[in-house]
């Protein structure tokens, strides 16, 4: 039972981290209709910014907080210099240009920070474990990720459903042209949304960094999962991204935690331990395919 609880928490933690990455991606995709493959680079740079600021300030929290305005600035610059020129073009051009950005940012990180990875040491208060139930320890830092992720998710929910900007964001996601026609400064809105996406990606990156360590291209692996999540959730829907991220997080953990033991009941132990990781790797994509058959625009996507 404790084991089950720990794995559920692991799934929630993983899901929240991926939600932060997917939220920015789905907003940019839904509102600007921009396929931004370089979103993973913002995730990576958020982590590297935090590493640098943590070195300067000597404080984990301060370094993390300073990385956020830096990520915002970077997001705004990318939007103004590059992304803006892409909105009117088709998706293949987006893919080409933003893939180029990935290469650029990966090389930039290599020049500025070097090819070797970096690691972030947690402050003692976060490095240990806390008892979530008496006698059931859970890593403090992972618990902190759950708390921060939940707070950011609630903030986003408030922003999108209760504020004027959120109203415009929702309106932009359903019908971009109409919003522009109503006289909203759509350019400013786009820059803001892109910057918000960059901040969310940076939060995900810097929170993942102490667990997975910093390395060049760290965002590229996880970006594929983020795309799966926004497709399942429906393009442009924050609520969809949240639910899809939670489901994907649990599917991933179940595949790793329980599948090998289940398979060992029906096949040899060595075959099971080889097959299980492959099956759990595919499970998320099978889930995506199933959702798309049932609802072609994703769980909460706008019907065409």
């Amino acid at each position: 039972m404790e084991y089950f609880l720990l794995q559920v928490l692991n799934g929630i933690q993983l899901g929240l981290l991926m939600f932060l990455l997917a939220a920015g991606l789905t907003l940019v995709f839904g509102i600007m209709d921009l396929v931004n493959l370089a979103h993973g680079s913002l995730y990576m740079l958020g982590a590297y910014f935090a590493w640098t600021f943590m070195g300067w300030t000597g404080s984990f929290v301060l370094g993390a907080l300073l990385a956020l305005p830096a990520a915002l600035a970077l997001g705004v610059i990318v939007e103004l210099v590059i992304a803006r020129r892409l909105y009117a073009r088709d998706h293949l051009d987006h893919v080409l240009a933003t893939f180029g950005l990935i290469l650029f940012f990966n090389e930039l990180v290599r020049v500025l920070w070097g090819p070797a990875g970096k690691s972030i040491t947690l402050p003692p208060a976060l490095a240990g474990t806390i008892d979530i139930l008496p006698g059931v320890p859970y890593p403090t830092y992972r618990f902190a990720i759950i708390v921060v992720g939940a707070v950011v998710a609630l903030f986003l929910a408030w922003l999108v459903t209760r504020t004027r900007i959120g109203m415009l964001i929702r309106a932009g996601a359903s019908n971009r042209r109409m919003v522009a026609a109503l006289g909203v400064n759509i350019e400013l809105l786009f820059t803001l949304v892109f910057g918000l996406g960059a901040i969310l990606a940076a939060i995900a990156g810097l929170m993942a960094a102490p667990i997975v360590s910093l390395k060049i291209g760290m965002g590229d692996d996880i970006l594929i999962l983020a795309f799966v999540i926004i497709v399942i959730g429906g393009i442009g829907s924050i609520k969809g991204a949240f639910i899809a991220a939670m489901v994907v997080g649990q599917v991933d953990i179940i595949g790793r935690a329980f599948l090998p033991d289940l398979l060992k009941k029906v096949m040899s132990s060595s075959a099971a331990s080889t097959a299980a990781p492959s099956i759990s790797q595919v499970a998320v994509y099978v889930l995506m395919a199933a959702v798309l058959v049932w609802r072609p625009t994703g769980l909460f996507g706008q019907r065409q």
């Binding site: 720990l6 990875g117 890593p139 132990s269």
Partner: protein, 390 residues
């Protein structure tokens, strides 16, 4: 005008180069020079260049050119680059190869189609040590099973009763778990092959370990993955409760990031930077002077592979036309390896010692590795009997 003429002349001389065939010795070097694992490739390149420097840039009086190619950590790219080296550059030797899956994809291209000698400076998949062994394939590293076998023997001698195994799900990962099981006779209470190379998070596996309570954990996570595993292991609170043992997961490249998390985690290796032989002292001292860091075992193996090639080229006085003679000269292994005693077995894999190493701080406060025990002496890999070569 003059510069144009000069450029033209330079271009012409490029075309003229093949006419003076064999004036240079060409060595192709495949490794990973981009992406998260680029640090390994860089260390190998530095070590190979240092070997060339120690040779004065020449072998048997001929200039030597090492052509470095980036496999980008992908088997198909590694194969394409191997083809480029053998077909277009017509290199005399191909060496490097960090990853078993890249090597397996490139093997036929080099040793069969191009009939070129391949010297693996790291990867050692079990297939090539056994039935797939080849007269053109040599290794200055090991067979994948061997290092974990040394670790297994150490665990056995320490009396660790139960063990949990973890490795990446690819050719080397499977070999590394099979290797431990060859020598470790206690109970294996669990075994996880995790998605390779994209799994970054080990929370599910660490929670499993907590629930089965083994006496030890054995891991194989080379490069960046080793850093990730160690930090998550510490964060999970298992550090101090269940001891960790490893192969290839803590090395000179990962230590600057792992720092004190690596303290008290023993590992097995055929080479350690403090091995007391003259060649090794020179290699480590000059490497540190030049780059300010300790070389890794990847570097040591790359240094050895260049020195091995040099010994054969010297023995043949630079005449590489007769491939049988080249193979025979390589097989003699008449060079001073930085690991000490070195001889080739029937399958062209080294017969060598394996050591147990631990992390320590040197006098300058840098983290480094130190030999604490000899786990196996003059060890042969377990597959050599399946190799038809004598």
């Amino acid at each position: 005008m003059l510069t144009r003429l000069a450029a033209g002349a330079a271009a012409l001389s490029l075309f003229a180069a093949p006419a003076m065939a064999q004036s240079t010795i060409k060595i192709g070097f495949i490794s990973t020079f981009s992406g998260p694992q680029a640090a390994i490739g860089e260390d190998m390149r530095r070590s190979a260049n240092l070997a060339l420097e120690h040779l004065g840039g020449k072998m048997a009086g001929k200039t030597v050119e090492i052509i470095y190619e980036d496999d980008t950590f992908k088997p198909d790219v590694g194969k394409a680059k191997s083809e480029k080296l053998t077909v277009q550059d017509k290199v005399n030797f191909v060496t490097g190869y960090i990853w078993s899956n890249v090597l397996l994809a490139s093997l036929k291209t080099v040793v069969d189609e191009a009939d070129t000698i391949l010297i693996s400076a790291n990867a050692g998949p079990s297939q090539i040590a056994g039935e797939l062994c080849h007269k053109n394939y040599f290794s200055t590293s090991w067979n994948n099973d061997q290092t974990p076998m040394a670790m297994g023997a150490y665990l056995q001698s320490k009396g660790v009763k139960s063990l949990y195994l973890m490795a990446g799900n690819y050719a080397a990962g499977r070999d590394m778990l099979a290797g431990v099981k060859r020598t470790y006779k206690g109970t294996i209470v669990g075994e996880d092959l995790t998605k390779w190379p994209d799994q970054l998070d080990f929370s599910a596996e660490l929670a499993k370990i907590r629930s089965v309570k083994p006496e030890g954990i054995y891991i194989f996570y080379p490069g960046a993955h080793g850093v990730q595993f160690l930090s998550q292991y510490a964060q999970s609170g298992l550090r101090g409760q269940v001891p960790l043992y490893q192969a290839f997961s803590i090395d000179a490249l990962s230590l600057p990031q792992q720092k004190d998390l690596a303290l008290g985690v023993p590992g097995a290796q055929q080479w350690v930077n403090d091995l007391p032989n003259e060649q090794n002292k020179k290699f480590v001292a000059d490497f540190r002077k030049k780059h300010g860091t300790y070389p890794s075992f990847y570097g040591a193996q790359s240094y050895d592979s260049i020195m091995l090639i040099a010994s054969a080229v010297e023995a043949l006085k630079g005449d590489l036309a007769n491939k049988d003679a080249v193979r025979a000269a390589i097989k003699k292994a008449n060079f001073k390896s930085v690991r000490g005693d070195f001889a080739f077995n029937n399958n062209n894999f080294p017969i060598q010692n394996f050591y147990i190493q631990e992390t320590v701080k040197d006098s300058d406060g840098n983290f480094t590795l130190k030999t604490v025990a000899t786990a196996m002496t003059a060890a042969k890999d377990p597959h050599h009997e399946k190799c038809p070569m004598k």
